[in-house]
Amino acid sequence: MNSPATASSPRDIDIQGTRLTEALTETWKTPPGVWGALTTVDHKIIGRRYIFTAFIFLALGGVLAALMRIQLAQPEARLLGADRYNQIFTMHGSNMMFLFAVPVMEAVAVYLVPLMVGTRNIAFPRLNAFSYWIYLAGGALLWIAFALDMGPDVGWFAYVPLSGPQYAAGKRADIWAQMITFTEVSALAVAVEMVVTIFKQRAPGMTLDRIPVFVWAMLVTSFLIIMAMPAIMVASTSLILDRLVGTHFFNPAEGGDVLLWQHLFWFFGHPEVYIIFLPAAGMVSTMIEPFARRPVFGYLGLVMALIATGILAFGLWVHHMFVTGLPRLGESFFTASSMAIAIPAGVQIFCWLATLWDGRPVFKTPLLFIIGFFVTFVIGGLTGVLVASVPFDTQVHDTYFVVAHFHYVLVGGAVFPLLGAIHYWFPKLTGRMMSETLGQWSFWLITIGFNATFFPMHILGLEGMPRRIYTYQPDLPWHALNLFASLSSVVLTAGFLVFFINVIRSARAGDVASDNPWGAPTLEWATTSPPPSYNFAMIPVVNSLHPLWDSRDALAVAEGLRTDRRELVVTSLNTAEPQAREASPRNSIWPLLTAIATSIMLIWSIFTPWAVVWGSIPIAVALIGWFWPKGTPEDEA
């Protein structure tokens, strides 16, 4: 760190004050204009873009949900035909899982994790830019196809043989499978960046036991992505091969196996739930501190619970297949493992309750959303225990009970904390506070609307209403509750509208935020709101879990980084001892060009396998441009 400065390489110790920030701005800035926007590798700009795009997809998915609720409000309704409805529920599920829930959690992490660990950019920033473009292309593929009446209609799980060559004519199922590939690639890219950022770029002194819980959650989530996503990649690729070149992975007539798809899909699909939930749990652990005004209780227990959930997540997938006729004894094992996940979930809930009990709660919007999270997520967790029981599941599987259950888990468990997180970190992202009044309105509308919409679905399921039906006959006793749910969804929609209005208004004219408006203890609040392009003028040095609480007046800093090129500190994995000064890549157009080339290849390959051959050439060219040697040392010890 303290190697002598040479004349040719100015260091941050040589200059002070505005001269330092000017030099850093010059080195790290994203130039204004279109070119700058397309070439930027700043994790904050990309993170904001990611969050913005994910919320667009949330709104679009919400419109689809509203259409379904209108259709189901009456028996034998004629608003949507069977074909359109089937596209809509497939789109809603695929969009919410692949284009909203997973990306939005990664997006928040792309923005926050480098700030929370006290570094200047994410690891592999060009890969980060690439991952955003690929994600955008995948989302555009799905929605443009839907607009052209080519939207997938096979369910977000695309079970074979229904999605196979024989029963899904046209390109609808291929578009679903290829959209998966896009979101896979982008999710895997972000996961790798996360792991490396968290392992190697933490501020000096941020030992493993001083990592904020949200960062821990993202670390575990990233490992889940790295281990779970390849399963769905194998599955969707095999499906495309079955459809395009006549392989028979899933064709029982040719020795393939229908259930193989379900095993592969759910081996990914169940960890997927925790890929969405764990970041949200990390947000709760992190946000609860400033609002309870004390450190979160049971840091070690919370981190262990995250890790335990991550491990158990891979042992539960069969509980999505309890009625496929697998051996009963084997299923009982999966009942046990599915129920066991309630233990780490319980550890977290009880630790948060203890934190609130011992703290002095401040009832601002983020805390309200945390309270809403408790109320709804505990219901979702308990119904999760119910469906984990094989006999119970034989009655409720594939009914509206399950629809209610997973909306309680995903909306209650992930969207509520996420909305709290948006209110909480909005000042850091934009430099302005969100309106507290509108925030409270949106909280009450969303909480009441959500519960009134989804709670009746538990009863509908027990009354025999299956999922994924585009209508029902009038002689079935489901009309009243469906109408009630549909009317309640208006309240829920109003809540989200208030939220969006609040975001737009506050971004333009909200109160200007200070650096640390909530009095929070973590490093992202140590810099300005919004942070400068280089995040920190001096890399902070951490000597506790709550650096801004324990050394509020004088945060120690590390010195000696060059100001004329993008440098950040690489530290050791366990103890975060400084090891090297690493050059962080500069802005580049190549990630965008690579993403365009990759997108062309992937979309083209829906139509012909030769696209993989010819489409690889532009990708190779773009990658050569991307990795063209710089001729300067990448890092200095």
Binding site: Y167, V323, P361, V375, Q395, G464
Partner: protein, 336 residues
């Protein structure tokens, strides 16, 4: 002309809901089958325990939020931290005990459900887009027969269903009688059902199976052994020769048009296997997998334009003159 007839038939059939049956005839809470009854007990018990747990958590939450809101924050105090550790540990142990109990309970419930007693009635159930093919099989091949979408079972007897998916995955679910079981191409699954009480129970495909997944229902009619035997004997018979002139003309039309290529009517030359067996179609309460009550009008509407009534289904619209349509529907209605 045919358009007017079709419209008239449609509105007539739509106006007559299947009101003859109780409204909760497809419910996991209104149960009349041996396994559904024990499942309901398990469901209610687990739900009750979970309600208590949820309320306890909510009480703890409210208490945590309100018990001492005022005052300035103080740094964590060791004594309070110890109490919190004890409370959290206790709550985690309680969670473990509860889910352990649930696991053991559901293990034994599964075991008791899968032990079926003696069963001498076996039905092969085939799931197809979007109807149910049924074959009553037994040791004597001459007593086998084929029907569709309506299962008759004798009350108080175990009935073994051999479930086969022929095109895509379907799921057999009659919630008032038993939990569901999938029909998967390339695999054979089994489900034993037993009705404790006579009645009509509705079921519906529970695994998304394509465009008309919403319209893939079936009825289970549980009746006394005598009624069942009477029904089964009638089903074994070939179709009655039409007596009326119009029906006889309808039979001729049926056999000369493409109808016979897909449907079987035993006792005639019609021997297609793509669509449901129509030998006694008019004895069944519904047509088109639970869509309409069987009447001459609904039959005519269906034959006239199946793609409008149930878009995407595999029955094409066969062009018929109004006279032919009337004749064929008269013939169908005569197939009791």
């Amino acid at each position: 002309m045919i358009r007017v007839l079709r419209k008239a038939c449609l509105s007539a059939t739509l106006a007559v809901p299947l009101a003859a049956c109780g409204s909760n005839w497809q419910s996991a809470l209104d149960v009349h089958g041996t396994s559904a009854i024990s499942l309901k007990h398990l469901i209610l018990l687990i739900v009750a325990v979970c309600c208590v747990v949820w309320m306890l958590v909510m009480v703890a939450l409210i208490w945590a939020l309100w018990h001492r809101r005022e005052g300035r924050p103080t740094p964590p105090q060791p004594a309070r931290e110890r109490r919190m550790t004890i409370a959290v540990t206790g709550a985690v142990i309680a969670t473990t005990v509860i889910i352990g109990t649930f696991t053991i309970m559901s293990f034994f419930a599964t075991r008791s459900l899968s032990v079926a007693g003696q069963d001498d009635l076996t039905i092969r159930v085939r799931g197809l887009q979007w109807w149910w093919g049924l074959e009553y099989i037994g040791p004597d091949p001459s007593r086998r027969f084929e029907t569709a979408n309506e299962i008759h079972i004798p009350v108080g007897r175990n009935v073994r269903l051999k479930l086969e998916g022929l095109d895509v995955i379907h799921s057999f679910w009659v919630p008032s009688l038993a939990g569901k079981q999938d029909l998967i191409p390339g695999r054979s699954n089994e489900l034993v059902i037993r009705a404790e009480k006579a009645g009509v129970y509705r079921g519906q495909c529970a695994e998304y199976c394509g465009m008309q997944h919403a319209h893939m229902a079936l009825l289970v009619i549980a009746e006394s052994q005598d009624d069942f035997d009477k029904w089964a004997n009638a089903e074994r018979n070939a179709a009655a020769q039409p007596v009326e002139e119009e029906a006889a003309a309808g039979m001729q039309t049926f056999l000369t048009k493409p109808c016979a290529a897909c449907h079987t009517i035993r006792g005639t030359l019609a021997a297609g296997t793509t669509g449901p067996d129509l030998t006694h179609v008019s004895s069944r309460r519904t047509i088109a997998a639970g869509l309409f009550e069987t009447t001459r009008g609904s039959l005519a509407a269906w034959i006239a334009d199946p793609q409008t009534i149930k878009p995407g289904n595999n029955m094409p619209m066969v062009p018929l003159t109004p006279d032919e349509l009337r004749a064929v529907s008269a013939y169908m209605a005569s197939l009791k």
